[in-house]
Symmetry: D2
Subunit: 296 residues, 4 copies
């Protein structure tokens, strides 16, 4: 089995490394806050002191960070991945990031003889832990096919989207849909509540129609319980909304509804809800609507 270096042990990384170990892959881990490595070392993983060290003898280098700036630092920075990688290796970036960063990575790796895929994932904590992610991949198709067995350990489905940056692009396109759906649910629920409908009944309808979506069940359930504990933090959704806006700007695509949604997310973060779950931006819609809800 391929030797895997996995860098970045946030919520997503922890889930993925757990599944790689379960599947029997030899894994070397690195994380900025080193003590997050401990549980994996106890399960047999090696721990590296720097990104460069982590990747030095890997076959496949995988990483998932919180944003472009972290990629910048860990890949391009001092003792970074580029400083330690070698010809013939494969790098797979699973971070949600701007497609241009993927393009810069691909070019930098190519100079070192390293092949590169951008392979961001849909799904959050639970899907990462259960190997149920949906992975969207950009890069050479033959490389995708080669890495696919590893990705399948982590995922329910994998999708080849085209050349370099097409995985990153698909991720932003999908996140646009996610933000739009949470906004739609929030507008629907505030309107329903003020109209005198029972929120639980409304979710019951949204559960069965042809415009139903699992996200309405998930976010709606949390909403009913006033449970905004974090699967995916609102501050990260704001970061993604900003990435989507930049992406739409670069391509000069008008996206009026998600642009309006971004302004709501900004306001929610200003209210201090950035560390709560992404769905907490519905509370801003409630605030604007003058909806008073009982705290669960």
């Amino acid at each position: 089995m391929e030797k895997i270096a996995y860098l970045g042990l946030g919520i997503m990384g922890q889930g993925m490394v757990g599944n790689l170990l379960t599947a029997g892959y030899p894994v070397t881990v690195w994380n900025r806050t080193a003590d997050r490595c401990t549980p994996f070392v106890e399960r047999g993983a090696k721990q590296a002191d720097t990104p460069a060290q982590a990747v030095s003898d890997a076959d496949v280098i995988m990483y998932c960070f919180s944003d472009d700036a972290a990629v910048e630092e860990v890949v391009f920075g001092k003792d970074g991945i580029l400083a330690g990688c070698n010809e013939g290796q494969i790098a797979v970036n699973m971070t949600t990031l701007h497609p241009d960063t993927s393009r810069r990575e691909a070019a930098a790796y190519a100079e070192k003889g390293v092949k590169f895929l951008d392979a961001p994932v849909f799904g959050s904590k639970n899907e990462a832990a259960n190997g149920g992610l949906w992975i969207v991949v950009g890069g050479e198709q033959a490389l995708y096919e080669q890495v696919k067995p590893i990705l399948e350990v982590l995922s329910e489905t994998t999708h080849y989207m085209g050349g370099t940056a097409m995985g990153a692009s698909m991720k932003l396109v999908g996140n646009l849909v996610v933000a739009s759906q949470i906004e739609a649910l929030g507008e629907a629920m505030t309107l329903a509540t003020k109209a005198g409908l029972d929120p639980e009944d409304v979710l019951g309808v949204l559960h069965v129609t042809d415009f139903k979506s699992p996200i309405f069940d998930g976010v709606g359930g949390g909403l009913l319980k006033r449970d905004f504990s974090t699967n995916f933090a609102l501050k990260l959704m704001l970061k993604d909304a900003n990435l989507i806006a930049k992406f739409a700007q670069d391509l000069n695509v008008p996206t009026p509804a998600v642009a309006a949604t971004r302004e709501v997310i900004k306001a929610a973060v200003n209210k201090g809800w950035g560390e709560e779950n992404a769905s907490a931006f519905i509370k801003q819609l409630e605030d604007q609507a003058g909806v008073v809800v009982k705290k669960g």
Copy 2:
């Protein structure tokens, strides 16, 4: 079995009456354009010349019209339902309409001793034809239970939402979600297309993730084929978007994203696409994005 009067033989009404006849109910039909009654008369329905005549000896009076103005005319107008109905009957309005119109109907029927439910439906042509609608009902719960067996002939699920106008309210809340999802899909697809992604691949991803929705498959499929033939006309979706805006105004609920979406739908109708399928408003997003697509 109850004698049913059914008024309004548009796309939805035709499907519903067909299923009522199949289920063995005796049905009297009326439609403004009388010749739409013929196929149902051939299947055993009686045909009435006026709404008043149609309802005179019915147990249950059902109707589904295109808008509030039609309800106004057929219910309250000359030779209308109120002129012909009698104490002890039950009226069920399946039209998508403003909740205030439901309230006025309920009050008017009450004066005649007629009980009333507002019971709009989700789903369009196919669901109506196949008895697969989702029906949301407002009015007295006991009355709902009484009428439920008839509604179940037409539907996959029925939902009791609360007192008078709660069915109508739920319908507008749901339509807000529908419009938001088509907008989200349109923004996603124009962004994806300009980014160089293959639209079919994008729909493949949207088909499996936890933000998937049957509406993305349906609308997306039509989009790929450039098939905007009508299940539900865009001009009717504009009418609904205007109803939602009025409803949100009456309750003073800010709904920034669907407000932005309404402006897009307006522009699409100005382009002359009002008679095409509702999903045709995505063409306006393409126009704004400068996306040129091959015509199927």
Copy 3:
């Protein structure tokens, strides 16, 4: 001089009647809350008990109410203007209202042989008091010329805009601009404040450039002093924003920015600021931006 009946003694009506009396016109006043008539009676006005009585022997019937519903009641209602008016009279409606209401009024007056102008005004408390309004008029041009000397007592300028409802239409078009400018100022000031600029310095720049406007001085001055005392109540601006939205809906005109602005105004009213000055909706923008300002 023409005998004038003036109905409606709100902030605007009080200013206008004062100027009519100063100019020497014989005026009969009516107001729902009768004691508002007292100061004008003391200055020589006659007081009527009902609208019908007020207009019975007038040459020119003028009125300015808070909304379409008030027009509906006072013009069309029991003991209303239509019940008391006579052939040969002239009616001038100065209310900000939907153009369709003007059209209905014109038709109803025509049946009684009464000529009609819709003549809403720009300006608020101070302009009304000082005879400095800007009046926009719809109806027959000859009639406009006939009434112009009276209007000039009240105004800085008068503008003939075209046939019936063109005055009402122009008023809504102008109010769209007003709402847009207050929104622009609010967005500019919250952005400036968070950037560390001094609000007073910013207003100094907005005072001199080629995008300057008196409204920035007026609203901006109140903003600096945190003075939101009422010239024109926010709840009335929300009413106007709703009228503009209906007008844009009837003409199917996309107005994306003012549509976004309406959602902000709604939220501000939900915060309880409806009785404050219209400019108070900037507080909602501050709230969304997390801008904390010292209370004046």
Copy 4:
């Protein structure tokens, strides 16, 4: 008099250099396309081959470029200003740019002992040519006072806004207002036109009220004549709208109306109007409204 190096001879630079020469300042000019220097050389200016050469013996270094990327290249690049400047000089950047770029410039100049002001200008072609700009300045106040006599040659007013980047910040705040006003005018005019009002009459009203603005006269006049010849190109306004969006993002300030406006500007550029005057984005509003106007 101070020796001035002026770099960047676009529409703005040409006007400013002309006025500096008229005032008697010794000026050395540089422009990427060298032949733009010729008319100024004929009037006595020196011409330099590189930015570094241009600034080498200047007292005051002034420049105005089209965007941040040009600043990046000419200031920080090979043979750029930083390569040629010397301790004791003063640099004044008049470009509309992101405040962070000003901060980076200030830091880089400080290392060379050069003092720095960011001093973007309001006004376009005519104001630049006539010395009628409005200049907003960030940096040390004493430095501002020192340079003020030179700035006054170029301007109607100068405004000290605070420390480094406060000039750049004020410029973006002002441009937000400009974009909002053009949008408001466009929405107003399309609504008015569809309502049957005469656009010239509407502009007559906007010319006198307390929400009037010189920009409505200027842009409105062009609109009536269908004259979209360039004072300030739409593609530059899109660049500015994108800068404003980035600035609002960095400060996390919701700006819903100008966010909606940006989407309209994007669409207008997609229609191919980027080289026309900024006001040409009103044509996109007309397109969305289905307004057909006669071409001038």
